[in-house]
């Protein structure tokens, strides 16, 4: 392929060396723009920031800054640009891929004090919020107007909207209501140069290149988000859930395809395999059929008339697809009970196994049966169990590999198992991450999904925003050197997420 020679600058080849950062000089400069309470540098104070939801990767930063205004954010970024200090932006630290892991020679820029809801405009159906506002808090503030913020990542009680923008977070209702990107109007952010920019607008588009999709999901690598304007959605009058049991996972997969092919876009469409069902049933007693090889949950929402029509069609399709049992929630309590099991899948895994490793690949729905069979073969190959829960409607899989980190070799085996699932996701026409992000966790698998020209293009996109490569270096986009090494050596340990109390699904 022509034109494929490396840039003369060597862009994207090797990690930049930041070991020359002068901590004292950095603190002195920051102290001129921040009050003492906004600047942490004693190791004891830094400890809470040493990891995000991926708790095995721990690293203290040099400094943590807790600005309260956009002007302070810009000052901090200018200082770090001047002194060539890496900057890692951080919201609630619930991310599962290590995207907010501190840089050893860097600054953590916590947006925790940006927690004001600046405006709920019910008439215009939009909310203007600071990045540290929790996802669920937006819906709570909008509730009196019959509105809500649609994307609902499972950690929504804790995760912040700034983090959602950084990860382009999903949830269980994406198929019908879209990802974070589809529910944003405008993101305001500061570049490493200290420039304040607006991506998107209050209108439905903005002039020039559409940079909102580039910034959304960019894992804190392009700009630091300081304000987010989201769309609010009218809350549906009613939601009902159908639970169907199947004696064969392939039949359940076919039922998913049949529902979509019939022109139905359910509000949620989730699948669990038999081991996952057994694990959660023991935990939450949702009343799931334990003999089923797979269960499907399908939710309809809308007006009562609409929901009745859709439920009737879904029930007929499920029965025609060979469901051994179909139940429809009769009231809100029963609907919540159907969901309780699905939403308890991650803690249930934590209950039956000392450790688990959650994967996040997405595949075309039609390859689901193939993937499940391959995972069963991998369970035998690695002598390790894996329970499977899926956002079946959009093909996003969360296989949970069960292991015991205290048993020698288990950690390594779980990583190898996980890597094989991710690589198979790519081979089946999918992706290594549907909603958890690449971070540091899946950076090697990026080399499987993308070839050199694309990796270089990503580095050039980053350089367009951040020429010195100071925002979250070493995350999300691998260097070409790393890709060359990948396969010869594995990265360090990966352990299951922190925040065991948070729901994850």
């Amino acid at each position: 392929m022509s034109g494929n020679a490396p840039d003369a600058s060597g862009l994207g080849h090797a990690e930049r060396d930041f070991s020359k950062v002068d901590k004292r000089r950095l603190i002195a400069a920051l102290a001129r723009v921040l009050p003492p309470a906004s600047l942490l540098h004693d190791p004891e104070d830094l400890r809470p920031y040493e990891c995000d939801g991926m708790a095995a990767l721990r690293q203290l930063p040099l400094v943590v800054a807790l600005p309260e205004t956009e002007a302070e954010v810009a000052d901090i970024l200018r200082i770090c640009a001047e002194q060539a200090v890496p900057v890692v932006a951080r919201g609630a630290g619930t991310g599962l891929s290590g995207g907010a892991q501190p840089h050893r020679f860097g600054l953590v820029l916590s947006l925790a004090r940006f927690k004001k809801i600046l405006q709920i405009d019910a008439h215009a159906r939009r909310a203007v919020v600071q990045p540290g506002v929790r996802n669920l808090a937006i819906s709570e503030a909008a509730a009196p107007y019959g509105l809500y913020y649609a994307p609902d990542p499972s950690s929504q009680i804790a995760c912040t909207i700034g983090g959602n923008v950084a990860e382009n977070s999903g949830g269980v209702h994406c198929l019908k209501y879209g990802l974070t990107l589809h529910n944003l109007l405008k993101v305001r952010g500061v570049t490493m140069a200290g420039d304040v920019l607006e991506f998107g607008s209050l209108a439905l588009d903005a002039p020039g290149y559409d940079l909102l999709p580039l910034v959304t999901g960019s894992e804190g690598m392009l700009a630091v988000v300081t304000e987010v304007t989201v769309k609010l959605t009218p809350r549906p009058q009613l939601a009902r859930c159908v639970l169907a049991a199947f004696d064969d996972v392939v039949k359940a997969g076919d039922a998913v395809a049949a529902i979509i092919a019939a022109g139905i876009i359910p509000a949620g469409l989730e699948m669990m395999d038999q081991p996952a069902t057994a694990a959660v049933e023991e935990f939450v007693h949702a009343g799931y059929p334990l003999d089923a090889q797979a269960i499907l949950l399908c939710e309809a929402d809308g007006t009562p008339e609409e929901v009745a029509e859709e439920i009737a069609r879904v029930r007929a399709l499920l029965e025609a697809s060979g469901a051994t049992e179909v139940r429809v929630s009769s009231d809100e309590a029963e609907r919540m009970r159907f969901w309780a099991g699905r939403k308890a899948a991650f803690p249930a895994a934590g209950r039956i196994s000392p450790d688990y490793y959650c994967m996040d690949g997405t595949i075309p729905r039609k390859r689901l049966g193939e993937m499940l069979q391959a995972i069963q073969a991998m369970e035998r190959k690695y002598a390790m169990r894996c329970i499977n829960v899926f956002h079946a409607g959009d093909g996003n899989l969360h296989p949970l590999i069960l292991f015991d980190a205290n048993r020698p070799g288990d950690q390594h085996t779980a990583e190898a198992f996980g890597a094989e699932i991710l690589e198979l996701s790519v081979a089946l026409g999918g992706t290594i991450t549907g909603e958890h992000g690449v971070g540091i966790e899946k950076i090697n698998q990026m080399c499987s999904q993308f070839a050199t020209p694309e990796i270089l293009a990503f580095h050039r996109v980053k350089a367009a925003f951040d020429p010195a490569g100071l925002l979250n270096p070493g995350k999300a986009i691998p260097t070409l050197n790393r890709c060359a090494e990948y396969g010869r050596e594995r990265m360090g340990s990966t352990r299951p997420p922190a925040h065991p109390d948070l729901p994850r699904f």
């Binding site: 009218p234 979509i260 997405t362 992706t431 991450t433």
Partner: protein, 354 residues
């Protein structure tokens, strides 16, 4: 197809080396849009055909030169559609052109725009490298979302070769209603209705009449018809109305008076500029036929929180799109340079220097 790609690569690399430029062109149905383009035309239409279509996956993957009409006919056979209703302006438009122009029709406010339905694409950059971003799945956060940023880039970042689009089922029921309302009342109602779970899929206001299109489940459309009142339009004239707005065959768009597209917050007040006006997208898109000075139109639109595009006719050599603030202009130039360092692709179509 490989021969074609090789030929394109050679053209791109030759132009890049010689300081030349290439104007990417599909059916030429949107040649009026954007600034006057310089460069040797590169016709994408030899790169055609459906690569993959599985209705139950809600995804279609298509070569860029495929006629849009061919894709839409295929989707219709399977009861599906491009939900963003790309305008067709004239016969012969291509899928690549549809994505590069990034224009959406009447359903935009209800379902999203072109970029919301782009799942992935293959493109050739200004170095002649073939790049693949995104894929054929709904959820994919690996790498920057370059494929969606290509929507609306007017062929200035690269040459789209293949694109994967999310498709949606056609709604089982559709009905249109009209109301006699002045502009302010119509804008207020549109926003109030937007806050309720109503199946409104399109809206238009002009000359004191607001018309809504409802789309969705039979029960939902029936319930909304009962609740909203208004006068129901027979389906043939209703279909003709929405098609005329989508494709600009409606009489409003005839003639060669400058046509401005004002993209504003849906709740923005009346534009109150001289000329004739047509309001779409629940208030978020205001079309204006006017000879008022561009500066006045841009200033008023910006004051309302939006941006103004000289969509058709008028002077195509100056700024056609709304001028960008300096830091944003610099960033966009950086991005152009990242993909097309020699400035080969459709230079100047979007802005001078892009």
């Amino acid at each position: 197809m490989n021969d074609l790609i090789d030929a394109w690569r050679e053209r791109v690399c030759t132009a890049a080396a010689a300081g030349g430029s290439i104007a990417i062109r599909g059916g030429g149905t949107k040649a009026f849009y954007g600034r006057t383009v310089v460069g040797e035309p590169l016709d994408t239409r030899a790169c055609r055909g459906i690569v993959n279509y599985e209705p139950s996956e809600l995804v279609v993957t298509v070569r860029a030169g495929t006629p849009l009409a061919e894709l839409e006919a295929l989707l219709a056979e399977h009861g599906q559609m491009l939900a963003f209703e790309p305008p067709r302006f004239a016969p012969g438009g291509t899928v690549g052109g549809c994505v590069a122009a990034g224009l959406a029709g009447p359903r935009r406010a209800a379902v999203g725009g072109v970029r919301d339905f782009v799942l992935g694409l293959r493109m050739m950059d200004g170095r002649g490298d073939l790049l693949r971003f995104g894929g054929e799945v709904m959820k994919n956060v690996a790498g920057y979302d370059v494929s969606r940023a290509m929507a609306g880039s007017l062929g200035t970042l690269g040459l789209i070769v293949v694109v994967s689009l999310k498709v949606l089922p056609r709604p089982p029921a559709e009905a249109s209603l009209s109301f006699e309302l002045d502009e302010a009342t119509a804008l207020h109602r549109l926003n109030a209705w937007g806050g309720q779970p109503l199946p409104i899929s399109a809206s238009v206001w002009r000359d004191g009449v607001l018309t809504l299109r409802l789309s969705g489940a039979v029960a939902a459309v029936d319930a909304a018809l009962r609740g909203l009142g208004g006068e129901r339009l027979p389906s043939a004239p209703a279909d003709a109305l929405w098609a005329g707005l989508r494709d600009h065959t409606d009489a409003f768009f005839a003639g060669d008076l400058p046509l401005w597209r004002l993209s504003v917050p849906g709740d923005a007040l009346a534009v109150a500029l001289p000329g004739t006006q047509l309001v779409e997208w629940g208030g978020a898109q205001r079309w204006l036929r006017s000879t008022a000075p561009a500066a006045d139109i841009r200033a008023r639109t910006a004051a309302l929180g939006g941006h103004a595009t000289l969509f058709r006719h008028g002077d195509r050599s100056g700024d056609v799109f709304h001028p960008l603030p300096a830091p944003m202009r610099a960033l966009q130039r950086n991005l152009k340079h990242a993909f097309d360092p020699a400035g080969v692709f459709s230079p100047g179509r979007l802005y001078e220097g892009l």
